[in-house]
């Protein structure tokens, strides 16, 4: 049986007609790392807060470790949560913060001390026990918040954007530490983030949210290489996928008045379609400097240099598309260029608002 189950879970706030999230179905195996990802306001935090018991569940069922948890208060759900702000108690020392939950639960002092030492060892907090949160660096605070959660030995660890208050460098390091911790302790983790890179690197599986619904659940590879719709394709991956709106007509893709004959890498979907959006990731576009069938014609606008890779920005039929090129590439702007899609890495989406993937 799955460790955490959400079945048809929805949340509607009182005095509101709309559901903030609806029809959330998720199953986590013990020890799984699941990430809820999506733009802000998509409902991922609300889902997490419902699991934590900070928001009531309007409809559907929540099971944690086989127990229906809908009506349990937070403390009886056997969960622990790390907040974006860390929510450390500023008037308590590091040690007092870490064992606070144990103290409230009536764990004897000797046991608390043992757990405290374990956590400080694990999280590299030794020697900081008597400091107060204000005297800690961002990364240390983060680890204290983690320690406070871990000593409870929760069934599920809930993390709400725990890295977003750190600077970029520290964020990368804590990302690695989190991953290691998860492996070492075999924790069941539900992680909320708006950063798709975090989701891709940390998770066993990813649930992509859009506008209060889950649009796709899958491994990082699945959501990256097999997105179900245009939203997922655009949200996952950086720099984002290039999109060209147009339609299919007599063996050609017409976009912005440019007719691109199909062929080679550019294969149409099997199902019939009219208005479509073509999506190709920057790394799947190769620029060539002579007319090529099945390639998108354009003109070089400029080169964006990121150091390890450069991105050639090309104006194709009135929009700017990116194509990855080896670092140090030199091309003068204005030069005509043809972007050749890699075979099998071309995505078609319905041209309507929903943007369903066409296969």
């Amino acid at each position: 049986m799955s460790h955490v189950v959400l079945r048809g879970v929805g949340k509607r706030y009182p005095n509101s007609q709309r559901f903030a999230v609806r029809n959330i179905n998720l199953e986590l195996a013990r020890g799984e790392f699941l990430t809820l990802v999506g733009p802000s306001g998509c409902g991922k935090s609300t889902t997490l807060r419902m699991i934590a018991g900070l928001e009531e569940i309007t409809e559907g069922d929540l099971y944690i470790a086989g127990r229906r948890a809908n009506d349990l208060p937070p403390k009886d759900r056997n969960i622990a949560m790390v907040f974006q702000s860390y929510a450390l108690f500023p008037h308590m020392t590091v040690a007092a913060n870490i064992v606070f939950g144990l103290k409230v639960k009536g764990v004897p002092p000797a046991e608390r001390q043992r757990k405290l030492e374990w956590a400080c060892e694990l999280l590299d907090l030794k020697g900081l026990e008597h400091r107060r949160p204000a005297e800690l660096s961002g990364g240390q605070r983060q680890r204290v918040a983690l320690g406070r959660a871990l000593v409870l030995e929760p069934e599920v660890l809930l993390l709400d954007e725990p890295l977003s208050n750190l600077d970029a460098k520290l964020r990368l390091r804590m990302r690695t530490e989190l991953k290691n911790l998860h492996r070492k302790l075999g924790l069941t983790v539900i992680y909320v983030t708006h950063d798709q890179a975090e989701a891709m690197t940390l998770s066993d599986r990813i649930a992509v949210y859009d506008n209060g619904r889950i649009v796709q659940v899958g491994t990082p590879e699945e959501v990256y290489y097999d997105p179900v719709n245009r939203f997922v394709a655009g949200f996952i991956g950086a720099p984002p996928m290039n999109f060209f709106d147009g339609w299919l007509e007599g063996g050609a893709f017409v976009t912005g008045g440019v007719r691109v004959p199909l062929g080679h890498g550019l294969q149409p979907p099997r199902e019939p379609a009219g208005a479509v959006t073509l999506g190709v990731r920057p790394e799947d576009l190769t620029p060539v400097y002579e007319e090529t069938p099945g390639a998108l014609p354009g003109r070089v606008a400029f080169i964006e240099r990121l150091g390890s890779d450069d991105y050639l920005v090309v104006e194709v039929a009135g929009i700017l598309a990116q194509a990855r090129v080896p670092a140090g590439t030199r091309v003068e702007s204005g030069r005509p260029v043809w972007l050749v899609p890699r075979p099998g890495r071309v995505y078609w989406f319905a041209g309507d608002e929903e943007g369903r993937r066409l296969r």
Binding site: G53, L54, P74, Y86, F89, G101, V104
Partner: protein
């Protein structure tokens, strides 16, 4: 530009003089010798005493009724602080955290209590306190209860902001860790809010220390119950001696001046509570 600077400097000098000169004069009288205040019109009163003396201070501290008034003042102020915070902090927390239908009404109630003049409210208050069962209360408690009526709206206003400044995450984290609401309020919220709540406490202390009308009316028939401002007024009635009056006024003012210097920015919060958007 230069003319404006000059005007500003001049204005500043005038303002400082207007504020400091009266205070200086008070101090000067308090250390004045007899010849400096009893001139018989033969010469003007000097701006610095002929023979400065602390005689009046020595006389004051030798008087039992002065000490009694001081103790009464301190006790009433402490009772008022305790009562105002006990009642005010939970209310401020609720007003800071929840959005509910009666919110505007409650805020309006707090503000409109300012419309009642103390000299008007004191009449029914005294009439109540003179009759059973309230006349059984010690007069210090009576005055503290009355002072709480004045300070409570301020304490609530000042503390709303303090609680708003505490992230909701702290409470939610406490709930997840298993704290009851009461435990969260007393062990997490109050300690975190304490420095901010101190502002309300200090403001309340000063308000009670300086208050005259309620203390005067409630201790009118009870000379032992006088607070320092009331004591000052009684001294004013029985002695024309300027130096004693001034010394007493200085003694009453020095603690509050020091206090308010230390906590200047908190005073500000109280004085403009509800007035600034």
């Amino acid at each position: 530009m230069k003319r404006i600077r000059l005007g500003w400097a001049l204005g500043l000098a005038v303002a400082l003089f207007m504020i400091l000169f009266p205070l200086y004069i008070l101090f000067k009288y308090s250390i004045a010798d007899r010849a400096s205040i009893v001139t018989g019109g033969r010469y003007p009163e000097p701006l610095w005493p002929f023979a400065p003396t602390f005689e009046m201070y020595r006389y004051l501290v030798s008087r039992g009724d002065f000490w009694a008034a001081g103790v009464t003042s301190v006790r009433i102020a402490l009772y008022t602080v305790a009562l105002s915070l006990t009642l005010g902090a939970p209310a401020a927390y609720a007003l800071a955290r929840y959005r509910f239908a009666g919110y505007g009404v409650l805020i309006f109630t707090l503000l409109s209590l300012r419309l009642f003049p103390d000299i008007a409210t004191v009449i029914p208050v005294v009439e109540r306190f003179y009759k059973p069962p309230l006349n059984a209360l010690p007069v210090e408690v009576q005055v503290a209860l009355a002072h709480t009526l004045l300070s409570l709206p301020y304490v609530i206003f000042m503390s709303i902001g303090v609680f708003q400044g505490i992230p909701k995450d702290l409470e939610e984290q406490a709930a997840i860790l298993g704290c009851s609401r009461l435990y969260t309020f007393t062990r997490i919220l109050l300690p975190v809010a304490a420095p901010g709540l101190a502002a309300g406490a200090i403001y309340t202390f000063l308000l009670s220390w300086n208050e005259f009308i309620f203390a005067y009316y409630l201790t009118f028939t009870n000379p032992e119950g006088a607070t320092l401002p009331v004591y000052l007024l009684r001294v004013m009635a029985w002695t024309p001696q300027k130096n004693l009056l001034a010394a007493l006024a200085v003694v009453i003012s020095v603690p509050v001046i020091l206090f308010s210097f230390l906590v200047q920015k908190y005073m500000q919060a109280g004085l403009t509570a509800g007035a600034v958007k």
